[in-house]
């Protein structure tokens, strides 16, 4: 390591410590509570994730895409679980797995871009809105930044979505291992003058600080089951380590892509070959291993993992053994203190809107209100009396 970089690192550490001492202690800081937002990108099909066991319309409208009975794990008399989520069944049995039905936007949009924009900003009315609902909530409730990382929240992947804007500081973990060496040239450091140079210098310092943080070796307990070998598993392992490296960080966002199942969603001949099943299985196995680590570390009680997706899918299947973009869908919430079971209302398959899509039963703002309540964040960027929280905890 060259001399100049050592100096820069020292400066960065010094800055970090100094910043920590200057931070005010906010009385309403959610001590120890953690929220992990899991974006299921592409539009997850709620009807096949938590299928109906007895509704004849389900099999009528989806002759080959409806899950075969053998591929459904019953959750009571009426509904079941896609067997891809088998790894999470123990959570349901312990009452730590909640399903929210009929969840969607008051102004459904079938475009990935605009629907995502609505969900991320918590605002179905303004197509120009760009600031994330959770970023606004963190800012309005004055959640303090974590002293170790200087960040309010951590985002895995490139789309900060609900955590974008509002002046909050994010720890962005695209791929920390991608970084090369980037010390400020010793000479230039003394001559920083333009705003661009100042900004570059600051970003380099922040980046080195986050690299340092992520590089600290953390001994994690062995999970109860194996992590499948894919990027999302590695991100969850990084997240588990981050939760130890930076205990004051309380908000996280991850994303799993691939839910836009226009074709080959289900393979009726071999149910374990369908795209949706495979994706759900990998995701749930990764989550199960991750959750077992959190349980062993005593973090599960205060953690909430909440999924969301930009829309559900059409009830009627299309011509490619898949489904097209739809409206309301089902999300799931897991955590040590979550009230397991069914919440919301499943939209009846016999009462569809003019486009043949499910009617909205629960506005997503109520879902967000519930998650914010779990974190102790009373101030939200929408009217909380109009959109009361569900009793998820």
């Amino acid at each position: 390591m060259s001399l100049d970089r050592r100096d820069v690192l020292k400066a960065a550490l010094g800055l970090g410590l100094a910043a920590a001492w200057r931070l005010p202690f906010a009385a309403n800081a959610p001590v120890g509570k953690r929220l992990i937002l899991l974006e299921l990108k592409g539009g997850n099909d709620g009807l096949n994730t938590f299928p109906s066991l007895n509704d004849p319309l389900y099999r009528q409208l989806r002759p080959t895409v409806a899950l075969p009975k053998a591929a459904i794990l019953p959750l009571g008399q009426e509904r079941g679980l896609n067997w891809g989520l088998q790894s999470l069944l123990p959570l349901w049995e312990r009452g730590e797995f909640a399903i929210v039905d009929g969840l969607g936007s008051a102004k459904p949009d079938l475009s990935h871009f605009w629907a995502s924009q609505q969900w991320e900003t918590g605002n179905p009315d303004d197509p120009k809105a760009r600031i994330g609902w959770l970023a606004q909530a963190l800012a309005s409730n004055q959640l303090p930044a974590s002293p170790a990382s200087g960040a309010h929240a951590a985002v895995f992947g490139f789309n900060s979505g609900p955590l974008a804007g509002a002046g909050i500081k994010l720890l962005e973990i695209g791929d920390s291992s991608l970084g090369g060496d980037a010390a400020l040239p010793a000479a230039a450091a003394g001559r920083v003058v333009s705003e661009a140079q100042r900004h570059l210098a600051q970003i380099l310092r922040d980046w080195q600080q986050s690299q340092q943080l992520m590089a600290k070796p953390v001994a994690l307990p062995k999970p109860d089951s194996e992590f499948p070998d894919w990027a999302f598993s590695r991100q969850l392992q990084q997240l588990a380590a981050l939760m130890v490296q930076d205990p004051s960080l309380s908000v996280f966002k991850l994303v799993v892509d691939g839910f836009d199942t226009h074709s080959n969603q289900v393979d009726p001949a071999s149910p374990d070959q369908g795209r949706h099943f495979k994706l759900l299985r990998r995701t749930s196995r990764s989550l199960a291993a991750f959750i077992s680590i959190l349980q062993k570390q005593g973090l599960w009680q205060d953690t909430v993992i909440a999924s969301y997706s930009e829309f559900g899918r059409r009830v009627q299947q299309n011509g490619s053994a898949g489904t097209d973009h739809g409206t309301a869908g089902s999300s799931f919430v897991m955590g040590g203190r979550v009230r397991g079971g069914f919440h919301g209302v499943l939209p009846p398959l016999g009462d569809l809107d003019a486009d043949g899509n499910l009617k909205l039963k629960v506005d997503f703002r109520r879902y967000y209100n519930s998650l914010a309540a779990a974190m102790g964040l009373p101030v939200l960027p929408f009217d909380t009396t109009r959109f009361p929280a569900l009793s998820l905890l």
Partner: protein, 469 residues
């Protein structure tokens, strides 16, 4: 490593003698390599190795004129792929069902479109024209278009118009099919006004906020009713049965205006020239335009019949452009960084998939701006998330790409489906071979790489200052 240090030592000797030559015999105003660097990084992505030698004996004015002459001579846009041809072409019809309806094929066409533009920017005979084509691409952002072919054809058109009469460019923009799809022009009809096109025309492309009223937008939208493109031919036409022939008051003038009348009104408006001068200032000179200078240049711009080439000549020769206070005040966009990175090593050819991978990872996927305002650019390009990737690219261009880098890209989960990993590995190896071959031919690493390298042990890393320009 002694071979390398010998080579570097040899190069430094050559550099020193070049400098000495200039000091003794060259004209007093001859460009120093750092100035060639400054000019080319701003106006042409980066200085290619050949640029240093061919500009060594030139003054600033001569170098700028050289760039403009090249641009004038290069008026043929990079060849359009056959699937992007006009809607009536046979080749297009062969692809049409895929382009229009297949969800699977459409991402393939968008990848091909991005790569067409990236290769075009890298291999253009005139890097200034290429830079201006990128400028217009970013100035008129496209978001979530359905049809890749019309977007490609628009940039193909703009290539030839990039340095011409600004009014002609704006008219071509307004009549273009991709614009109409993006801004709902065809949905705008008498009795069912859609203000989208008129709003963005006034707010983002010609006058800027504060120089028109909401009423102006509404009335201008009425004037543009009926504007459309023919479905099969893609040619501009006006559906007069949808047109609102009534009296309209736009920017204080009343009459039975149609779309062309409104455009003519905008072209006469004093803000029209100023707005463009300000935008170009922020792109080429510094983040804060000097109001007086802007006024002077706008007046000249109007006098020169809105010739963009003449305006650029004015700007690139100005004290503001060359001032030390304005160096390193702008941030390179991802596309500038990757195209410039290859150009700086004298590498040409088909490296589009590679460039697309890096630029997308750095946050700029062409033809997919975040919203109608486009990429904010400037310091927005530098975040904790993107700085690592930018540095990895810069280091890779200096000393070779780490083979495990691609595996880490794939593991990051953001790896694009259109670019198979083994293809990327082959392209990485091929690109590095090209770089090494070019260096061997020149007998050294490129000057810009030399300037970028820090004085440290192997492997040399690129200075993060290369993120700025």
């Amino acid at each position: 490593m002694s071979q390398k240090s010998t080579r570097i030592g040899l190069w430094m000797y050559r550099f020193a003698s070049l400098l000495a030559c200039c000091a003794i015999t060259g004209p007093a105003s001859a460009l120093m390599p750092a100035e060639v660097d400054h000019l080319m990084q701003r106006a042409a992505f980066a200085a290619a190795p050949a640029d240093y030698s061919r500009m060594a004996a030139l003054s600033r004015e001569q170098a700028v004129d050289l760039l403009l002459q090249e641009a004038a001579a290069d008026s043929a846009a990079p060849a359009m792929p056959d699937w992007a041809g006009p809607p009536w072409s046979i080749a297009r019809w062969q692809h049409q069902p895929l382009d229009a309806n297949s969800k699977k094929a459409t991402p393939m066409y968008w990848a091909a479109t991005r790569q067409w533009l990236l290769n075009g920017l890298l291999n253009a005979p005139s890097p200034l024209r290429a830079r201006m084509t990128l400028y217009w691409h970013e100035y008129f952002p496209l978001i979530r278009q359905k049809h890749a072919a019309s977007a490609l054809r628009r940039d193909h058109r703009f290539y030839a118009m990039a340095l011409g009469d600004y009014r002609e460019l704006l008219t071509a923009f307004s009549r273009d099919g991709a614009t109409m799809e993006n801004l709902d022009t065809k949905q705008n009809r008498r009795g069912a006004i859609n203000e989208n096109f008129a709003r963005e025309l006034l707010e983002l492309y010609t006058l800027g906020r504060g120089h028109y009223s909401q009423g102006d937008i509404r009335e201008a939208a009425r004037a543009f009713t009926g504007w459309a493109v023919h479905r099969n031919s893609g040619l501009f036409l006006v559906m007069w049965n949808w047109h609102d022939f009534g009296e309209k008051t736009v920017l204080g003038q009343t009459g039975r205006w149609d779309g062309d009348d409104v455009l003519a009104m905008l072209y006469r408006h004093p803000r029209f020239a100023e707005y463009q001068v300000e935008r170009l200032w922020r792109t080429f000179i510094s983040p804060e335009p000097d109001a007086q200078q802007v006024q002077r240049w706008s007046a000249q711009f109007r006098q020169d019949q809105y010739s963009l080439a003449k305006l650029l000549r004015l700007m690139l020769n100005s004290d503001a452009f060359w001032s030390a206070a304005n160096r390193q005040t702008l941030v390179k966009s991802p596309v500038e960084l990757v195209v410039g990175g290859l150009r700086a090593e004298g590498v040409k050819g088909d490296h589009a998939a590679w460039m697309d991978l890096w630029a997308s990872q750095m946050g700029q996927r062409l033809y997919l701006a975040p919203d109608v305002k486009g990429w904010r650019g400037y310091t927005d390009w530098l975040t904790v998330g993107t700085i690592g990737i930018r540095q990895a690219f810069l280091n890779g261009m200096s000393s070779g790409f780490d083979p495990s880098l691609l595996a880490r890209f794939e593991a990051s989960g953001a790896y694009p489906a259109f670019y198979p990993l083994d293809q990327a590995r082959a392209d990485s190896a091929g690109l590095w071979q090209a770089v090494e071959q070019a260096r061997r031919q020149r007998g050294s690493v490129s000057i810009s790489t030399m300037m970028a390298m820090q004085d440290r042990a192997e492997p040399p890393a690129a200075s993060p200052m290369r993120n700025l320009k």
